[in-house]
């Protein structure tokens, strides 16, 4: 996104929330945030919970976005906005949250004008499920594919590029006069099943060299690891006692002499000092607010306690055994290289259409 695209995006975003524009200038834009937007991008959750708890009138936040910082004088206070800006990423997230599910009807101008005043509700609209998904191919690197799929819910079939097709139509959130909607012949679950099958087919058609190569790398690395720890075990066994005495350096750790490593023993006991008390991770503050809970209670319940001084024991330090080390390293390698594919939904909707998308 270049600066122009960023600006257009932001303007459309604010327009979608009917935002009051305070000032618009070729190089910057000042807006007064509506409540919904403020909660998403204003970065003041505590303010909001306070205002809502105390039932106070809220002070809208005014933001100025600067698109050409080099052309704006120092008298204009605002934040520079560009593709990587934190605020724009928040706006993206906000758009994603508020643009998830839609239900739209096609309003076909030609058909409407052709109908006389006495026309009956006799024109059918076909129901479609539109689903936009992101397929992420992941190993130690990553690539995304976006698919814009559609399923005809009346005569089941799957089409690609459904969203680009929709963009060419006139869509409204209400049903046009003199139209009726055809009944769905398959359930939502079935339609999703079809889409899943289609997504699988697309995945199969992808060049899978990336995964093959990632597996080869993983395999090679695991092989090195096997060999290394096998040798280590062998050496540990025959380790010279004399060498041990050399190891007393000032900062040296007291390393217990390891017993010979049984290569096949995969299960190792977790050393005691690795057990960490479960620390509650805060769930979202939004949830607390939605549930009407007190913020203070939330904070008390979710704060991560400092370990009291008396419980801190610097003495308990134990080096991992070679087996533990190997196991950890193998997990790291799998984590890094193991190819996998994740399919996530961007958004979706039900569309009642007069026109039919081209079938590929």
């Amino acid at each position: 996104m270049n600066q122009q695209e960023v600006r257009s995006y932001i303007e459309r975003y604010f327009a979608a929330f009917s935002t009051h524009v305070v000032e618009t200038h070729p190089h910057y834009l000042t807006v007064k945030l509506p409540v919904e937007v403020d909660k998403d991008i204003g970065n003041r959750p505590f303010y909001w919970s306070w205002v809502e708890k105390m039932n106070l009138p809220y002070q809208p936040m005014v933001l100025t976005f600067i698109f050409q910082p080099d052309q704006v004088g120092t008298d204009i206070r605002g934040e520079q906005i560009h593709f990587g800006a934190q605020r724009l990423q928040q706006i993206f997230q906000s758009a994603a949250n508020h643009g998830r599910f839609v239900c739209m009807y096609e309003h076909h101008p030609a058909m409407l004008s052709a109908l006389g005043p006495g026309a009956r509700r006799s024109n059918p609209l076909t129901p479609w499920l539109g689903l936009n998904v992101k397929i992420s191919l992941i190993c130690d690197k990553k690539k995304d594919l976006l698919l814009y799929l559609g399923v005809n819910l009346y005569q089941p079939r799957v089409v690609h590029n459904f969203y680009p097709f929709l963009q060419r139509l006139q869509l409204q959130p209400s049903i046009p006069a003199y139209y009726y909607t055809q009944a769905q012949t398959i359930s939502l679950g079935q339609a999703v099943g079809l889409l899943e099958q289609e997504i699988n087919r697309v995945i199969q058609q992808q060049d899978s060299r990336w995964a093959t190569e990632a597996r080869e790398r993983l395999h090679d690395e695991l092989e090195i690891l096997e060999a290394y720890y096998a040798e280590l075990a062998l050496r540990e066994q025959t380790k010279d006692e004399a060498e041990q005495s050399d190891e007393t350096e000032e900062e040296a750790v007291n390393i217990p002499v390891e017993e010979a490593v049984d290569e096949n023993r995969l299960v190792v006991e977790c050393p005691e000092d690795k057990v960490v008390e479960p620390v509650a991770l805060p769930t979202s503050i939004d949830e607390v607010r939605a549930g009407g809970g007190r913020l203070l209670d939330f904070l008390r319940a979710h704060s991560i306690p400092e370990t009291p001084k008396s419980k801190i024991n610097q003495g308990e330090w134990k080096k991992s055994t070679p087996q533990e080390e190997k196991k950890r390293r193998m997990e790291e390698l799998r984590w890094q290289y193991e190819p996998r594919i994740e399919v996530t939904m961007i958004n979706g909707g039900i569309f009642y259409l007069h026109n039919m998308p081209p079938f590929h």
Partner: protein, 687 residues
């Protein structure tokens, strides 16, 4: 080949396998291969219905699969009649109706365009279906639906953020405040594409390792591959790193202060000494870090230290070790550092030693070792092409001392010599050496030392009068030729200037002297706290004309907005001279760098400058070179100690000049040898 008869589950009857099931063969790499079958999916295209598709999915774990592991011996050409392989799979299908994808090593994926038409994808696929219930509910209640405009904006955002390519850097479009240099981009790309996110970044000082690390970090974040990131740095650099990541990269890094922060924040900068101590250690070791970055990693060269052990135990996916010190001194250090990153990459330490190490500092099998090291380490050097440095302009500024000043110099020098040789009973030699150096700098510096000496001698000591005599000489001096010349020089430069001196007394005096001549200046000392250093740098950049610094080091202080350096006095240690230059002559310096060396005629200073400037061309040398050269000299003592003994032990100025000359000659020879062998990698200097 006969058609395969397979017992199919009921609902698949009618499907028949193609009679000409393909035969597959491929050669295997060495060693034993185990075929793990985790899960698999299978697509069948039958002859009768070309589009007929049967997709089996479900999941099986390894333990429940019969024949889940097969092993083959090395080097054999492996042939599997596909039909029999398939029949095995189909038998499994018939007994376990739910089945999914096959994981059977990399080789088991076949080109779908080939006649065989068997495609075994073996990559696990996860479908996110968490959205389905809420969508279903919306449909049932017919709303409330979202706006079409926002629906479109959501897609556009995803389109803008989607990673369209495996290899191309994506992070640049996210950063508006940063223009990386070509070598930094190349480094980032190599780490991502060749080293797979585990690397040692060992650029020479001033080439921007932090930028490279930031680029790599940002790239993984943008791709959604790294979220939880830990950056371990020396305590003095925590704030600087945090600031830089936020400002330059837009990475929301926080400096770790409280225990809860380990878990609360995704990108945490902390000092390794804090992190390794409880209660912090258990948090750090419990978290799985997508990425770990360690600055000044050469401090981890000893594998027996707690720091080393601690870093080794941190669970990490990607890992960057940053070091500026060429890890060439000890072969062991190379080994240990690489073993942190990729254990076993260089084999076991003793097999490493027998394969690569001849002596403590000598490598064998250079070529092979270099290859191995280059797989995990990147070292950009200043002399490599593509990194542009502005020229340096060096100028000696000779200063004639006034007769009183010369008398003081002579007086102090003979005083020092006399007592230094007389078996150092009365004074410690260090004080005498210091005095000798200081008298070249300023009378203030010498005065402080003389005063301290006087205090320490017993009241009836015969030395007291001779010290007092020197002090009297100082009092008589009214001119200060060096300071006067400096003022003249600054006025002539008429731009920002950094003055380096070795002594605090000189620094204080100069500050007073400059202000008397209406020149604004700020002091800079090693003892300042980090925040004060930053503040002084800031004052210098925005308010003052002159920065008077007593120390050149100070990790991470960048003064490249200034291009004028005055060496008010010459350190006896050439390394320090190099460090001084390195403060301003670094990446980002856009102008030529001017270096003025003040040299008082007829003093030791003149000799030293002569050695550094004319004999060894220090000022023309690339930063970092001197280090290598000194390394080659194989001196038993440091270069500085050698210089001290030459200066202090010489009986005449002629003798000193001769010895210094020899020293210069030796350095020049080493330098020439270095240039010849510069094809060898940094880390493995051969004999």
């Amino acid at each position: 080949m006969r058609p395969v008869e397979v017992l199919l589950p009921e609902r698949f009857t009618g499907l028949r396998l193609a009679p000409s099931a393909p035969q597959l063969s491929w050669s295997l790499p060495a060693t034993i291969i185990r075929v793990y079958v985790h899960n698999f999916s299978l697509v069948l295209h039958t002859r009768m219905r070309k589009l007929g598709l049967a997709l089996f999915r479900g999941c099986l774990d390894q333990s429940r699969l019969p024949h889940s592991s097969l092993s083959y011996h090395a080097g054999n050409r492996l042939k599997i009649q596909f039909s029999s392989f398939l029949s095995k799979i189909l038998m499994i299908i018939s007994s376990n109706v739910k089945l999914y994808a096959i994981y059977a090593l990399s080789m088991l994926s076949f080109d779908p365009s080939q006649k065989g038409r068997f495609v075994l994808t073996n990559i696990p696929v996860t479908f996110d279906k968490t959205w389905l219930p809420s969508f279903t509910e919306l449909i049932q209640q017919d709303g409330p639906w979202h706006k079409w405009e926002l629906f479109q904006l959501a897609i556009e955002a995803e389109e803008a953020k989607a990673v369209s390519d495996f290899d191309q850097l994506q992070c640049l479009k996210y950063m508006s405040n940063l223009q990386p240099f070509p070598h930094q981009l190349q480094t980032a790309e190599r780490v991502l594409n060749e080293m797979r996110g585990r690397a040692i970044l060992a650029d020479e000082v001033g080439l921007g390792k932090t930028i490279e690390a930031g680029l790599i970090m940002k790239e993984y974040m943008v791709r959604g591959l790294a979220k939880k990131i830990l950056i371990l740095v020396p305590a003095s650099l925590v704030i600087q790193w945090t600031k830089e990541l936020n400002q330059k990269f837009g990475i929301p890094a926080v400096a770790q202060k409280k225990e809860y922060m380990w878990r609360q924040y995704d990108v945490v900068v902390a000092s390794i000494d804090t992190a390794k101590r409880d209660p912090h250690r258990r948090h750090v070791l419990d978290i799985e870090y997508d990425m770990l970055i360690i600055d000044e990693a050469h401090k981890l060269k000893n594998k027996r230290t707690r720091n080393y052990q601690f870093v080794k135990e941190i669970k990490k996916k990607y890992c960057l070790l940053l070091t500026a010190t060429p890890i060439q001194n000890e072969m062991d250090e190379v080994y240990n550092l690489i073993n942190l990153l990729k254990p076993g990459h260089l084999g076991h330490s003793s097999s490493f030693a027998s394969t690569y190490v001849e002596g403590k500092r000598q490598a064998k099998n250079n070529e092979k070792l270099r290859e191995e090291i280059e797989k995990v380490m990147i070292r950009n050097k200043r002399r490599d092409g593509g990194i542009h440095f502005t020229p340096r302009r060096v100028q000696s500024v000779p200063i004639e001392l006034s007769p009183e000043e010369m008398a003081l110099y002579e007086g102090v020098t003979s005083f020092v010599r006399e007592h230094y040789r007389s078996e150092m009973g009365t004074f410690n030699s260090l004080a005498l050496i210091t005095l000798q150096r200081e008298v070249c700098s300023s009378r203030e510096a010498a005065f402080m030392t003389l005063y301290n000496m006087y205090q320490r001698t017993p009241e009836d000591s015969p030395l007291r009068p001779s010290i007092l005599e020197l002090v009297e000489m100082i009092k008589k001096i009214e001119t200060h030729s060096k300071a006067a010349k400096t003022v003249e020089l600054i006025k002539q430069i008429n731009d920002k200037v950094i003055i380096f001196t070795e002594y605090r007394a000189t620094q204080n005096y100069l500050q007073k002297y400059l202000s008397e001549h209406n020149i604004t200046s700020v002091p800079f000392r090693g003892g300042f706290k980090r925040s004060k250093k930053d503040w002084m740098t800031d004052l210098f950049q925005n308010r003052a004309q002159v920065l008077i610094a007593t120390e050149a080091g100070g990790e991470g202080i960048n003064l490249q907005f200034c291009n004028q350096v005055i060496n008010y006095d010459m350190p006896w240690n050439p390394m320090r001279v190099e460090q001084r230059i390195g403060r301003v002559h670094r990446l980002g310096q856009e102008r030529d760098v001017f270096i003025y060396n003040l040299s008082t005629s007829g003093t030791i200073e003149e000799h030293i400058l002569n050695l550094l400037y004319e004999k060894i061309d220090l000022f023309e040398m690339v930063i970092g070179d001197l280090d290598d050269i000194v390394e080659r000299l194989h001196l038993s003592n440091s270069l500085e100690e050698n210089l001290i003994s030459i200066i202090m032990d010489s009986h005449s100025s002629k003798e000193m000049a001769l010895k210094l000359d020899n020293m210069g000659q030796a350095i020049r020879t080493a330098k020439a040898a270095k240039t010849r062998s510069s094809l060898l990698p940094e880390a493995v200097h051969g004999p």
